[in-house]
């Protein structure tokens, strides 16, 4: 999604969000990830105004007052944390671990194939289809991507073929390189 994304060409406008919209977003996010609640005020302070940055392809970014991009979403999809945020709070999303051989493919923007997660180096969380997951790698401490499950964990084990996770955001993609917004 962010492979060909650049601050210069893709951002169309940015504006302050209304507090009622913020309240809604916060509420929805917490409903989806209730376990984040103790830390949520730290991640996204209650009284903080946030900026909504509209981009091409119906992508919207949510940035804090200081310009750090916190979340992103496409169309009316769910709010997803950016990698920089997940590096700080890695417990937000369920984890999927890929084996060592898959790292370079993921870093160049490939979707994650099932064998990359079922092999000895891989490790999975049990999740349903269409769940956003955090991609971590064998032998690495920090996440390397954020993706969307194309099949449930069970199916991944059963078929063990084809695309398992659709890659949305990965290290060094356009969104990563856009460190902050003005």
């Amino acid at each position: 999604m962010f492979k060909k994304f650049s601050e210069k060409d893709s951002v169309s406008q940015s504006s302050q969000l209304k507090s009622s919209v913020i309240r809604n977003l916060r509420h929805n996010f917490l409903q989806q990830y209730p376990h984040v609640e103790p830390y949520f005020d730290e991640i996204w302070p209650k009284r903080d105004n946030v900026k909504l940055v509209k981009c091409q392809d119906h992508i919207e970014l949510i940035a804090s007052q200081t310009g750090d991009i916190l979340f992103f979403k496409q169309r009316d999809g769910t709010l997803l944390p950016t990698l920089r945020l997940v590096h700080k709070y890695p417990f937000i999303l369920p984890w999927m671990q890929v084996d060592k051989g898959a790292i370079k493919f993921v870093l160049s923007g490939a979707n994650v194939m099932c064998p990359g997660m079922t092999s000895p180096g891989g490790k999975m969380s049990v999740v349903a289809k269409d769940t956003p997951v955090l991609l971590v790698a064998e032998g690495k401490d920090h996440a390397l991507g954020i993706g969307m499950m194309k099949m449930s964990t069970e199916e991944v084990r059963k078929t063990n073929k084809g695309i398992g996770v659709d890659l949305i955001h990965f290290l060094n993609d356009g969104l990563w390189q856009m460190k902050s917004v003005k």
Binding site: K88, Y89, P90, F91, G101, K123, S125, V126, W176, Q177
Partner: protein, 206 residues
């Protein structure tokens, strides 16, 4: 840093728990060390376009971290290269690998820093006439000095109490003849800009 991955080794089953709960023994936010060259977390520097440069950077700026990484990384690297050998062609020597492109491309992304290296060019000031007795001042080249053009345009407008707008890629048009003031103002406002870099082109047609 290592603490993150350990979070799940304690779990008996092969799967990650879902949801992953924050650990009590670490304080969040975790402070991740990013490489100054490739901007990735330092452990991913091996996958950057120029791992040598990354290593060099790490050695210079954070000698302690460098030692830790190179000590642990030696095993990693050995393991990785062994694995590569298995995956590659049977004869997989170094020369072979250079000739053929391995599957999946090179995972090489352009360095973000590479763009910034562009040398700052000259700042060109010129005036253009509007009618008989009115002028506008055209400033080009500010962007290459890493100056935010939007902010600069607004600043000029406020300073000279006139209209000032961003008219093109790296071009600011200020209403009124303020060229002489700009010659002093620009180095004053942005100390990085050398006075010699500012060129006065005089009057030019637009």
């Amino acid at each position: 840093m290592a603490a993150v991955a350990d979070a799940n080794t304690e779990v008996n089953s092969r799967d990650f728990p879902n949801p992953i709960l924050p650990r009590t023994d670490i304080t969040y936010p975790i402070n991740v060390l990013y490489c100054g060259v490739c901007s990735l977390p330092t452990e991913y520097c091996d996958y950057s376009p120029e791992p040598e440069k990354c290593k060099e950077w790490l050695r210079q700026s954070l000698p302690d971290q460098f030692k830790a990484v190179s000590a642990g990384g030696a095993d990693d690297a050995a393991a990785a290269s062994a694995k590569d050998g298995e995956e590659g062609d049977q004869d997989g020597g170094d020369d072979d690998r250079k000739k053929k492109q391995t599957r999946g491309g090179k995972a090489r992304v352009k360095l973000p820093a590479a763009e910034e290296k562009k040398k700052p060019g000259a700042i060109k000031l010129s005036i253009a006439s509007r009618g008989k007795k009115k002028y506008v001042t055209v400033v080009t080249g500010l962007g290459s000095h890493g100056i935010d053009l939007k902010v600069a345009a607004k600043f000029f407008g406020q300073k000279f109490a006139c209209g000032s707008s961003l008219t093109g890629d790296d071009e600011i048009v200020i209403q009124g003849d303020v060229k002489d003031d700009l010659l002093d103002l620009i180095p004053e406002k942005w100390p990085d800009v050398d006075e010699d870099q500012i060129e006065d082109l005089g009057e030019q047609k637009r």
